[in-house]
């Protein structure tokens, strides 16, 4: 067993460090701390953040890959190749595949198939699943079984929550004891945070526990568990949302601020660049780039050690393409704001002190643009998650072997036309994506209200 670090893994972990550094710098500046505190004073923002953190943790778990080699003795033939930690913790789902479609919590397949019994008789019947619901004795009620099996996850969740509450209570008591009488206690909506954390934790533990006995969200055409796919897709969605902004941000910042501050020919060149880029339809540009990349990948298949590496490179490439085509909006915004700020008197005062342009940008312009950047980033995140789904649906998105909501929806296109309809793939992809995008949107809404300098206090 050895660790394998794919490109996107490295990027997402470095992003974690950037986020941690950001939190540290917020802690150091009183103004920023006050602002973030007031962001989290909203219950909606708090609940959204809990959900986003959950998704991010799954993305992180999916971003640690190990190479399993079969040395003949301990592992079966199946377990070799590259697995993520997330895969390993859900390994039973990877191994327990069915033959074809089965509905959530089903014990039998979804459609009838021809069957030969011992007597050579041909009959049409619903075949029994290999794994789903096979612990049940004949005639037992599924729902009663599910209800009984809910007990253990509930207990585990309550245990974890109790532990968490104790730790948190200790810190809060310490803060309370150290606080002087005059300071007001900050009124964070901890109750909302706990309720949403509890709900999510319970849901996932329940899913995890149930998945040992049932296919909780059914199986797809080739019998793979839909829950597994949905959870694995989290990484793809979050990565595209986060890393694309990472690619886009330096471009938008450097070009936008230079255009706004230096004006003249620099401004002209940058403006021409982004108006040209903006006038080409985004999907067309992305499709063209992806197709070129596909040709390169097929012609140079010896570059990649494994299919995972190939799929990863394709994901990375998609991130870069999306980043390179989506910086124009933020760039335009930053240019306009920089134009405005560079006319403000404190910039004139800095010039009168003989500060150079880069110092002025660093000390006076950039800090006054950060609210715009932050708002744009959080808003773009949900747009990019949706863009991945659209692109994969069109067929120019991530590699077909990569689990992603877009790919799930793309496959579900044909399933919707079946009679009876296979709805659970689409449904799962939709619910997982919807939750993420909704949480991101609600959070960005709050960020915008708090950080917007024009807001009325």
């Amino acid at each position: 067993m050895s660790f394998v670090w794919l490109w996107t893994d490295l990027m997402v972990w470095s992003l974690l460090f950037v986020i941690l550094a950001g939190i540290r710098s917020i802690k150091n500046s009183e103004q920023a701390r006050k602002q973030w505190r007031s962001i989290f004073e909203s219950r909606v923002a708090m609940a959204s953040m809990v959900i986003l953190t959950f998704y991010f943790v799954f993305a992180l778990l999916g971003s640690v890959h190990v190479q399993l080699t079969s040395n003949g003795e301990n592992t079966s033939e199946k377990r070799q190749g590259v697995y993520s930690v997330l895969d390993l913790s859900l390994i039973h789902l990877i191994e327990q595949t069915e033959r074809t479609y089965s509905a959530p919590f089903a014990t039998h397949e979804y459609s009838t198939s021809l069957n030969f019994d011992e007597n050579g008789q041909v009959s049409q019947s619903y075949l029994v699943l290999k794994h789903g619901g096979q612990h049940l004795t004949n005639g037992a009620s599924i729902w009663l079984d599910v209800l009984v099996k809910t007990g253990l996850p509930l207990l585990v969740t309550l245990g974890i929550m109790a532990l968490l509450l104790m730790v948190h209570a200790y810190f809060r008591f310490k803060a309370f004891a150290l606080r002087s009488i005059n300071d007001k206690a900050n009124k964070m909506p901890w109750k909302t945070a706990y309720i949403s954390f509890f709900s999510l934790l319970f849901l996932f533990i329940w899913f995890y526990y149930m998945s040992h006995f049932y296919h909780v969200l059914g199986t797809d055409k080739v019998g793979q568990d839909v829950l597994l796919q949905s959870i694995k897709s989290i990484r793809t969605g979050v990565l595209i949302g986060l890393l694309t902004t990472l690619v886009m941000l330096p471009l938008a910042l450097i070009l936008g601020i230079s255009a706004g501050y230096f004006k003249g020919w620099v401004d002209d060149v940058i403006q021409y660049l982004y108006t040209t880029l903006n006038s080409i339809p985004g999907v067309l540009l992305i499709a063209a780039a992806v197709l070129v990349m596909q040709v390169i990948i097929t012609n140079n298949s010896d570059w990649f050690g494994s299919t995972e590496e190939r799929a990863d490179l394709r994901l990375l490439f998609l991130i870069f393409i999306l980043g390179l085509t989506s910086w124009t909006g933020l760039c335009r915004l930053l240019r306009a704001e920089t134009l405005k700020i560079s006319q403000v008197e404190y910039v004139s005062a800095a010039k009168a002190f003989g500060l150079g342009p880069f110092k002025i940008i660093k000390n006076h312009i950039l800090p006054n643009l950060m609210h715009l950047v932050l708002i744009a980033l959080v808003l773009d995140f949900s747009g990019l998650v949706l863009a991945e789904a659209v692109l994969s649906y069109v067929g120019v998105g991530v590699d077909p072997t990569t689990a992603s909501w877009g790919n799930m929806i793309n496959q579900a296109r044909l399933e919707m036309a079946r009679e009876p309809m296979v709805w659970w793939s689409l449904f799962s992809a939709f619910v997982f994506m919807f939750t993420l995008v909704l949480a991101a949107n609600l959070f960005s809404d709050r960020v915008q209200t708090v950080l917007d300098p024009r807001r009325v206090n």
Partner: protein, 549 residues
């Protein structure tokens, strides 16, 4: 006259609060028909809130907690909203401070007035146009018929304010609320607009509630005066009585600060610190696909000035006269087209020879050592300080960049504290952010920032025009003190004639990029030679003119 005695507006015990903290506390006054009632106060005293309460246009967060307002014996707070809509515009009309933002920029001005007629009086078509044109004539717009089809940006500020007045008069209201109607205008235009409002009052028997902070305007306009302070009316009296015998100490303070100092400063002949010779700043006007230069805006067109060591030169002019551009050209914030800005540095030692440097010929790098000699204070205390920096960071910036004083952080901190105390702030203020301070305090921080690099010349670009009169007096005193202490020279750019005797030794009057008259303050203000200077002085409110020495 029975009509003149009837009460148009009566406010009784009005109180307004936001979240239980009172903004207006139990005020009462009444306005008679044909009377101009001035409501005077500094910013935040609640005078504009009062006017909004009359129109019932208060923001939703604010609540009227007590009192009543009656207009022509109708209780306004008892009316349903649809009846109130009829009263707004028909019985009460309002004009605002900023004519630019009060008019819709994409609609012809005539149409905007005609719209009011259509809504309230149901006058349409040609008739409406005729009525608008006659209104335009009444408010003194030249070529009224042509102006009907103009857009707001084609009009000057004074003309826009006239259009606003025409719009307010369109439905022949009984009460006109004028909320600082001349504050955004130049003095000569201000005099004209005030004259217009007065003549309309006389012709129509209109009552005017005149809201202002300017005592000069009050003395010009009002029949009766009420002074507001922190949501309360502290004094209410007839104009003559008010000015001759103010009762409340706050009113006395206001009047003392508003009325200029009586004496001129003695002129001592010292060496020139800065000599501006035939300075021209022309901005190219670019047009077309390839941005070819088609002409020039001559912001500064051949200006020659001398600023003497330890003295103040006041540069007076109306907006657009190019006075601020001169300041920027000295600092090399804009490039000058031709001419020279010669700065003299005294030589070292007894026999040192004075060296003269022309700023316009220097590169940015060569200019840097001179940046600490010339500093600047800005007009708007809110935009002059970076909102993301603490006060100590703001003051330290120049010391670091220009390497003034010690490089040691502890010594710098001590110096920052010393500077803050010098400008009348506390040393613990240095860890705060600009938004925690009032306008006057911010202006003091701006002064401390300029002082930090120990300059010889400070360019004061309208440093007091955004401040209330009492704060203005304090800031002017501070500048005066600093000049005495450090032998500073000031180039004091202003449009406000009343403060010139208090601050300046010499004065230069600027118009359309040129200096039309310059000399000692006494000479220019007592015996103005150029007709523009005379016009400026005559436009100043009578109160200030009388008191000018």
């Amino acid at each position: 006259m029975a009509l003149a005695l009837s009460t148009v507006l009566n406010i009784k015990n009005l109180s307004i609060a936001v979240n239980d903290s009172p903004l207006i506390n139990d005020i009462s006054f009444s306005i008679e028909s044909g009377e101009i009632f001035a409501l005077v106060g500094e910013s935040g005293s609640g005078k504009s809130l009062t006017s909004l309460a009359i129109m019932r246009l208060l923001p939703e967060a604010l609540q009227v907690t007590a009192g009543e307002i009656s207009l022509n014996q109708t209780e306004l707070f008892a009316l349903p909203e649809y009846q109130m809509q009829k009263i707004r515009g028909r019985q009460v009309a309002m004009i605002f401070q900023e004519p630019m933002t009060s008019l819709n920029p994409v609609m012809k001005v005539g149409e905007q007035v005609a719209e009011v007629l259509r809504v309230h009086l149901k006058i349409r078509g040609k008739q409406a146009r005729q009525k608008v044109v006659s209104l335009f004539e009444e408010v003194g717009l030249p070529q009224a018929n042509d102006r009907y089809d103009w857009y707001p940006h084609q009009l000057s500020g004074g003309q826009m304010q006239r259009v606003m007045i025409a719009m307010a008069l369109a439905c022949e209201p009984d009460l006109l609320i004028a909320d600082e109607p001349t504050t955004a205008l130049d003095v000569t235009i201000q005099a004209q607009v005030l004259e217009l409002l007065k003549s309309i009052r006389d012709k129509r028997g209109l009552s005017i509630l005149f809201i202002t902070h300017d005592m000069g305007v009050v003395s010009e306009m009002a029949d009766r005066v009420a002074v507001m302070k922190q949501g309360e009316i502290v004094e209410q009296a007839d104009k003559d009585h008010f000015f001759s015998n103010p009762q409340h100490p706050y009113t006395q303070q206001l009047l003392a600060d508003a009325i200029p100092k009586q004496s001129f400063k003695p002129i001592i002949d010292t060496n020139a610190l800065l000599q501006i010779n035939d300075l021209k700043v022309h901005f190219p006007v670019k047009k077309g696909l390839f941005q070819r230069t088609v002409g020039y805006v001559k912001a500064v067109d051949g200006v020659t000035l001398t600023i003497k060591k330890g003295q103040t030169l006041a540069l007076v002019g109306e907006s657009g006269s190019g006075k601020s551009t001169i300041g920027q050209a000295i600092l090399k914030l804009v490039n000058s087209t031709s001419g020279s800005v010669d700065f003299s540095t005294p030589g070292v030692g007894e026999a040192g020879i004075e060296s003269i440097v022309d700023f316009t010929a220097l590169t940015e790098k060569q200019m840097k050592p001179f940046r600490k000699k010339v500093q600047v204070i800005f007009q708007d205390p809110f935009s002059a300080l970076n909102p993301r920096m603490t006060i100590s960071e703001i003051i330290r910036e120049g010391m670091d960049s220009l390497q003034v004083g010690s490089r040691d952080k502890k010594d710098q901190d001590a110096r920052i504290e010393e500077l803050l105390e010098q400008v009348g702030l506390l040393s613990e203020h240095k860890y705060r952010f600009p938004h925690e301070f009032s306008g006057g305090q911010r202006q003091r921080i701006g002064i401390a920032r300029a002082l930090a690099v120990e300059p010889e010349l400070i360019i004061c670009d309208e440093p007091t025009s955004a401040l209330d009169v009492t704060v203005r007096a304090q800031v002017l005193n501070l500048l005066e003190e600093l000049q005495q202490k450090y032998q500073l020279s000031f180039l004091f750019i202003t449009h406000d004639l009343s403060i010139i005797p208090a601050i300046a030794h010499e004065v230069a009057v600027m118009k359309e990029g040129r200096i039309v008259e310059q000399g000692s303050v006494e000479q220019v203000m007592r015996f103005p030679k150029h007709e523009y200077t005379q016009a400026l002085l005559n436009s100043a409110p009578k109160l200030l003119r009388q008191e000018m020495p």
